[in-house]
Subunit: 558 residues, 2 copies
């Protein structure tokens, strides 16, 4: 599937044009949320079609066929087929998603098929976060996806935020339903419906549950991983006896996300607090991790919310305290979604495709046997298998690509496109000398190393060293890029200049919601967060010139 | 929540009365499928209500409160509160689901909340199967949940089977959709839509994907785990170059399910082939594992389908063979769902609650410190922690319940209800003698053993031995029960007599579809399967008296 097809998708269920461009509160534990959505991808074509038209389909098949058959030539064509990142970042992104076979468009406008390689990245994310949540006493559960419409209306801000983008089930088993059912956009309402039955006394608190599931939000402008009608995520929901505990939980979870982004994904995110108008619909306070993409746009990559007693009061989620008085619980919710995969692509990718941080890479090392004469094959394959075993024994995720139908050159491109951090080459001469060659995905020719010993322990140690270096290198590179592109501003004019250059603008902020909206209207930049890490003060509000307690970051965003 | 409330649930979205009771093909890779659905649970009350009425809710809270506060007395009340299995199997089941906190009703009729303890059983199931699938070369992926209605109609039998129980999204983002979208009941159609784009040549085959997801089927008679409007499952979908490979794959996967059921869940299932009219809507052939529940009813606990080229032809899923000729792919699909948890409960549970097979138990061993004098607490807790560490080091899933607010007796009941296979008791005298006490969940007092050494290696070996014995014991008990309750029949009268006694009837079968329907109408028993393991022939058809190539099993079922 070509990038332009990816960008267009097929237009099955036509949605409405985006109703209004007015600012409204951010409505999700959603990493997906940001109230300004710039049309990065052309909107869905108006013609409805079930599947690619026959001609298109045929072209695709031919293209794929050619690519495969031509693969023998060395795959340079495949490499050139990715739009350079510097030329058109948006097209580059769609090319990488398509060519690394991470995702494909579903038949319904705005939906996405997560292909096996893309899904394996999600499994890496799940594996880390799920273990971390469990260490913190969170238990997984599953709440029904279909929610009575009346639930959504119980919390006033929540319904205002979510109503415009709900998918509704109105028919079931061949009959019209009496009340439409909401296809879960997030689960605070149904979780509180259950919590109100499960929580009786202070002894039941804290209660911490999480679910891994799909959610739907009827978005108009979609983009694979970054913003889709349906996405996968985890949503954690907790209830506590005191406001302090709920606040601590919301902060703890944004810390978990920060550590995950920095340590595992090599994404040097900026954690901070959202402004009131950018907070989740129904939250007292929203925390976020903001990541800088390769085009300097901000991506909200995870959020946690202190919900206060807003949902508890709407749903009667109360507990008996030690004095036997009824009290509403204090709550938090928090989520990370498949959007994070988009963040990884746009943080680390280059003109050769994806670059995966080793700790999250489903395949950390690919071993490529190089065989020119058939008689060499058994010895080379045997050596490759021994290297594979050595890496596996050291806990390294490794794959041997011994497909005889493709050339080594084609395979190099193939696995570079997929971002595998380390490549190992082994041919007959290597076998003879008891060594092999390693190549780093994050470097060009200078990352190639000959004469790496094949002895199991030494080989594994060498490869583990490379993986550690690459992990650190990607993080440093991303951090340097981020820091270069954050500009301290003292006035609104400086902010406008910084944003016009594509930078993030950081400056004192103590102005009104109206002023914040004005910045958005005039610059398309939004207040991303008040970072937890504040530069030394005092600060002056860039808009009003009055003293400001904090600096905020403004940026254009996904 | 009391059992009667569980049985009734709250009636939110009213569905229609079951349209007709006519026999129609079984419609899913669904373990949930069986075309005879007997009203085991009273149908939903007609009154719509969002939540338990205030009075009900208050009663619930009081009950729960009493249970908690009264817990200090030893929990005998809690034990007595489960309806004896022999008295009312159906009520017993609902009691266990409620009291072991496995699931709860969702607000929408027929939906279920999977509570953390129930979900942890699902995680055990996932963990085993997911690893097994990966060993077999299956890759996980994710396909959109919303499917264009037109897709469902492309395969004639498929639409006939599924149309009556679809949930439809007709509104999105505040607008009516041009075409309703089906909330996935199963994914053969959308998978083929994508496969037709991904598969070009024989080199792309076999293609094997699986997804873990939720599906919806608008069922009228629901029951937690066993049959719910929404359930969780895995659905595998494969495409092959030849009919032989697709057949081998369908057989391989039913073998995986059989091994899982027998080895992990201690459920001695009968694997076999479904009759034509009981097969999946769109399959050439359906394989099933049939389990006998504690009330002798059959439960279809997993299925795999040889889909032939039915979906491939409907969706144009073709490949170029080595002679460059276009050929349709040959396919299989296969699934196991949260229904399996219902199967475990109804296979192994007893009057004290759940009994979990050790290999699937989220907690295999619970350690209960017994402290009467406060001064003993530190030494006893220290001993408990040492035992926990010893078990953990041996790879045993262990929990110490050191909650000071509950008595040991209350805890015994609590963990027996939850089916934890082994209990370890440790008190001051044990500490003094360097020993502890173990108790088996599958036995009464005779399963209690004093003087078990506390030394780490010896303790872990002893406990592991108990777990192995319990695993084997549960499987043997279930197998003996099953074998006692299968009756060989030679005539239709014998079949009727066996079914009337609640048994499974096994006999030669070579009669018509009409005859099969007649059996169902007259006895409520369905043809569960032609077992792979056939008794030595020759066989005579119990209905027609003619020679029969195979015996079939008939039984009443869930």
């Amino acid at each position: 599937m070509s990038a332009s097809q990816l960008a267009r998708g097929s237009a099955h269920a036509q949605g409405a044009a985006r109703p209004t461009a007015t600012l409204r509160p951010c409505r999700g534990p959603a990493p997906f949320r940001s109230s300004v959505v710039r049309p990065i991808v052309a909107s869905a074509a108006p013609a409805a079609q079930d599947a690619p038209a026959p001609k298109q389909q045929k072209q695709q098949k031919q293209q794929k066929q050619q690519q495969k058959q031509g693969g023998g030539g060395g795959g340079k064509a495949a490499e050139a087929a990715v739009t350079p990142r510097s030329e058109d970042f948006s097209k580059w992104y769609l090319d990488v998603v398509a060519k690394a076979e991470l995702a494909d468009y579903g038949p319904v406008r705005g939906t996405m098929v997560i292909r096996p390689y893309g899904y394996s990245i999600w499994e890496s994310i799940q594996s880390y976060l799920d273990a971390r949540f469990k260490e913190l006493g969170v238990q997984n559960a599953y709440f029904p996806q279909l929610i009575p419409y009346s639930f959504i209306t119980k919390e006033a801000e929540h319904v205002e935020g979510f109503a415009p983008e709900l998918a509704l089930v109105t028919k079931g088993g061949g009959k019209d339903l009496e009340e439409p059912l909401v296809v879960r956009p997030t689960s605070e309402t149904i979780v509180n419906h259950m919590f109100s039955q499960w929580i009786q006394s202070y002894r039941d608190l804290p209660m911490r549950v999480n679910q891994w599931c799909n959610v739907h939000r009827w978005e108009m402008r979609t983009r694979p991983f970054v913003r889709t009608l349906e996405f996968l995520w985890q949503e954690g929901h907790t209830a506590h006896a005191t406001p302090e505990e709920a606040e601590a939980e919301a902060r703890r979870m944004i810390d978990v996300y920060t550590a995950f982004a920095c340590d595992m994904a090599a994404m040097p995110v900026v954690p901070g607090r959202k402004s009131r108008i950018e907070s989740f619909a129904g939250a007292n306070c929203t925390y976020t991790i903001e990541a800088m993409m390769g085009d300097q746009k901000a991506l909200q990559a995870g959020t946690s919310h202190n919900l206060g007693t807003n949902f508890a009061r709407a749903f009667g989620t109360q507990y008996l305290d030690k004095e036997s008085k009824r009290q509403p619980v204090h709550q938090s919710s928090w989520g990370v979604s498949t959007r994070f995969i988009g963040g990884i692509i746009m943080t680390h990718g280059d003109d050769k495709g994806l670059r995966l941080p080793p700790r999250l890479a489903p395949i950390q090392v690919v071993i490529i046997p190089i065989v020119k004469k058939e008689e060499d094959r058994p010895a080379v394959n045997e050596a490759a298998a021994a290297l594979e075993a050595a890496a596996k024994a050291a806990g390294i995720r490794v794959k041997v690509d011994s497909d005889e139908r493709q050339t080594p050159g084609w395979k190099y491109n193939h696995w570079e496109m997929r971002g595998v951090p380390v490549r190992v080459e082994v041919g007959p001469k290597d076998v003879a000398s008891g060594t092999c060659v390693t190549a780093r995905r994050d470097m060009g020719k200078e990352g190639k190393q000959m004469g790496v010993p094949m002895e199991a322990g030494a080989f594994a140690a060498h490869v583990q060293g490379l993986l550690d270096d690459i992990q650190r290198g990607l993080a440093e590179q991303a951090k340097a890029f981020r820091d270069e592109n954050i500009v301290d501003v003292k006035t609104y004019d400086e902010l406008k200049a910084a944003i016009a250059e594509g930078k993030w603008a950081r400056g004192g902020w103590a102005a009104s919601d109206e002023d914040e909206k004005r910045v958005k209207e005039e610059t398309q930049a939004t207040l991303r967060c008040f970072p937890f890490e504040q530069p030394a003060g005092p600060h002056t509000c860039l808009m009003t010139g009055k003293p400001a307690a904090e600096v905020a970051i403004f940026a254009k965003s996904y």
